[in-house]
Amino acid sequence: MFFNIPYIAVVVLALIGLATVLFKRNLIKIFLGIVILESAVNLFLIALGYREGGIAPIYTNAPAGEEMVFSTVQALTLTSIVIGVATTAVMLTFAMVLWKKYGSIETNKIRRLKE
């Protein structure tokens, strides 16, 4: 039961993120929704990698016979965070340009593409 809490948090975060993306009009809020969704996925990855009583996989520090954690998911999460920063930066840049050109970042006011 207690062990499932991270996964429940993942689902809650993902739903909040999706709802924000779908129902908000302000671009910055939509981006925040995506960031929340990203955190949900990162939390999911980290929760998968948790081992009860495991120790960090550093050979020189490891006492003999202890379980070491295989650190793949941690590496994945780091990569995913870095990618997340890049995507957020690109999206914010787009919002800046749109603000300059249209004077608004509300999605219902930036629909000039469909004639």
Binding site: V21, L37, L76, T87, F94, V97, L98, K101, R111, R112
Partner: protein, 527 residues
Amino acid sequence: MSQDVINVIIAQSPALLIAIPLVFAFFCPFIGKISNTVRNIWVAAGMALTSAIALILAWDVYAFGTRIYVFGAQAANLALPMDSGGIPVRIIFTVDPMSALMQIIAAITGLAIILYSISSEQRHSGLSSFYTLYLLMITGIMGMVSTGDLFNFFVFLEILSIASAGLIAYRVDKGLAVEAALKYFVLSTIGALAILFAIGIYYGEYNALNIAMIASRMQFTVLDQVALVLIMAALAMKCGSVPMHFWTPDAYSMAPSSITAMLVVASQASLYGIFRVLFTLYNVTLNTATVGWIIIVLGVLSMVVGVTMAIPQKNVKRLMAYHAISQTGYMLLGVGVGLAVLGNQPLMDSFGYVAMEGGIFHIINHAMYKGLLFLTAGAVFFRIGTYNLNKMGGLGHSMKWTMVFFIIGALAIAGIPPFNGFASKWMIYESVYVFNPILAVIAMVVSILTLASFVKVFHSIFMGPKLPEHADVKEAPLSMLIGMGILAVIVILFGIFPEAVVNTLIAPAAHALTNQGAYISAVLGGA
């Protein structure tokens, strides 16, 4: 000595395929400080080198079978380190004939487009970043199609998305292009997160990220079904299939034409992702008939909706973008029929393989003729500055070569012999007809509508008297013509010798895709 060099290049080619465009991309802004000409040479050299490596690797794969390349191991083919207990812990590139085919597509189109864009982009500023992003796009595509590791696939997918979004928005165009790029980017970020979530599910279940390893342990539990739905939805969105197609016309029409042609290849890399997941990761553990029919329905919807939306369009690139959606439907239809009968050997032999070969052949053909069509639209825009069909007319008098290339592309997309579109569509028609005649009839009707639509486009761009406002229009510059010419020659050659192409390139790819055991044993050995 030279023999040694060649051997090293062949041995290291999967790594070089990623490293060369990356290195050329990173140095591009610095080289751009020297002069524009030097930078153009640098970029063209980088792309030519990448294409050469891709073709060498493809030749090697077609001649000697699947290649694996393990990053950071003592030997490039040492997938399983001695002390790992039979688990491939390192990042592995697995290049089988299907991957090699996609590399050939990216290499040829990429080279043609670089030659084209040297002229087509010369009037714009910020070209160093343009070419940097372009080479990053190539890196992303090459990485996506050659990786044998799911997380790696996600990383390259994101590289591709970020680079593409930057390029779609490249000509701000009063904000319209940024709007299109934003739409594309928000969708693909959410899609990529769905893929990452699915990768997490696989890792949690099978303790592996390697495609071959997961495939060998695949149970097809409920969790795997959830993961399949997430990946399929995300990748179907990225390849622009109906009902997730709405970003395609915006992004394709607002991007510079050279980039639009590359976006077609990028969509096909996502299509490759779908096929890799379905055939290599799941294969017969799926309920193949159900999933096959889902793919078929997606394909038919894309075909019909794409072509009907295309007919009323006024903007020539928007129109072509809807046709791109419709053509993606053919590939999904062909491969979907193959998937529906997967595991049933007699049916596979009688029409399943032909359907898959048709679908896969259509991928390469589509990249060539659709790339060509977008490039001709770009050439017209380069001279008259509008995409609006109502403002064009009579250009056939002054842009003869562009007109010839447009005719070649238009006849190919409509499936008229002797062009390549006919060859692959014919394979799809005859095999799908055996499977289910109604589907084949729909495919043919869509083809006729495509022809009708392109006749209209041809008429409004090139036919009629010379318009006074276009009186001083000249032919497109030489390097643009060369870029289009390369694609046009391939369209014709593939149309005249379809048998040879299918036997040497397509059939090995289709068989590699269906043969899951060979893929697994190439990485894990024995099995």
